[in-house]
């Protein structure tokens, strides 16, 4: 097999590796962002519910 013939196969293989890893990384980053936002919202909600009624009323 000549270099010219081999290049397209090698390029395709490495492009697939890069693409799959980048897609997985982006999906993973989005999942983290969503979960961290959920944790923040839920922790705020938990704090609000735990706060004394008078304090909550004053706010």
């Amino acid at each position: 097999m000549t270099i010219e013939e081999g290049v397209k196969y090698v390029a395709a293989a490495y492009a697939i590796i890069l693409a799959v890893l980048v897609i997985y990384y982006v999906m993973s980053a989005r999942r983290v962002a969503t979960l961290q936002r959920d944790v923040q919202l839920l922790e705020d909600e938990a704090k609000r519910l735990k706060a004394p009624a008078g304090e909550a009323g004053a706010e």
């Binding site: 097999m1 000549t2 293989a13 890893l21 944790v39 938990a46």
Partner: protein, 227 residues
């Protein structure tokens, strides 16, 4: 030390090694003199990815045993992540292997021992996912998944040794007795890519495990808030 083993640090180490390894593979290691020619360059990532997939399945196997011994759901989460990352790397192994197979053997796929047993492993671990999705109760799901992960792992050594015990197949033995015979510069590039890929696998497992723990925290908070 803890910082050195954090997911971001592992990502950085992995990236550096993988970039150095691939640069060496293309500019330092010679082009294969056999019929594979330039397409042999796929080997520098293909084999480390396959090894990383096996290690990830090994993590799931160890986590499954640990879960059955301790009933601690953290092990279940680690096992789940191990299977997920093992499957991710397996997809890459199959894709790059098919491309390399087309270049080297002239066919995209051959029903030979290594490929067939690897495909079987992929199906088994895909079934692990299906199993998890059909069982609702948390502890029961974790127990079934752990047992299944242990059974599925039996195929991993079979796949690894397939080329050694059944040498009539197309797939060559790469590392170990009867295989390899790598020239010095090829071995150096390959070793760097191997360490880099294993670190990348460790980084992704570590990060995804942390994500699973955050997901558990969300579930706990929702439960404590009554919804």
């Amino acid at each position: 030390m803890k910082k050195l083993l954090s997911a971001p640090a592992l990502f950085i180490w992995a990236s550096v090694l993988l970039i150095v390894g691939i640069l060496l593979a293309f500019w330092y290691s010679p082009i294969d003199a056999s019929s594979m020619g330039f397409s042999q360059k796929i080997f520098y990532y293909h084999v480390p990815i396959a090894s990383a997939a096996f290690v990830a399945f090994g993590v799931a196997f160890v986590a499954a045993i640990a879960y059955l011994r301790t009933q601690d759901l953290k092990w279940d989460r680690l096992g789940y992540v191990g299977v997920r990352i093992g499957l991710l790397f397996s997809i890459l192994v199959m894709a790059t292997g098919m491309i390399w197979g087309k270049a080297a053997w002239g066919v995209w796929w051959a029903w030979e021992p290594r490929l067939t047993t690897y495909l079987l492993a992929c199906f088994l671990y895909a079934a692990y996912w299906v199993l998890r999705s059909v069982v609702d109760e948390e502890d029961r799901r974790a127990t079934y998944a752990a047992v299944f992960a242990i059974i599925a792992f039996i195929d991993v050594p079979i796949t690894f040794f397939a080329t050694r015990f059944l040498p009539e197949g197309l797939h060559p033995v790469v590392v170990g007795p009867g295989g390899g015979g790598m020239e010095g510069s090829i071995a150096v590039s390959f070793a760097i890519c191997m360490v880099g890929m294993l670190l990348l696998m460790a980084a992704i497992i570590r990060r995804d495990y942390e994500i699973e723990l955050i997901r558990d925290r969300v579930t706990d908070l929702k439960t404590s808030l009554g919804g």
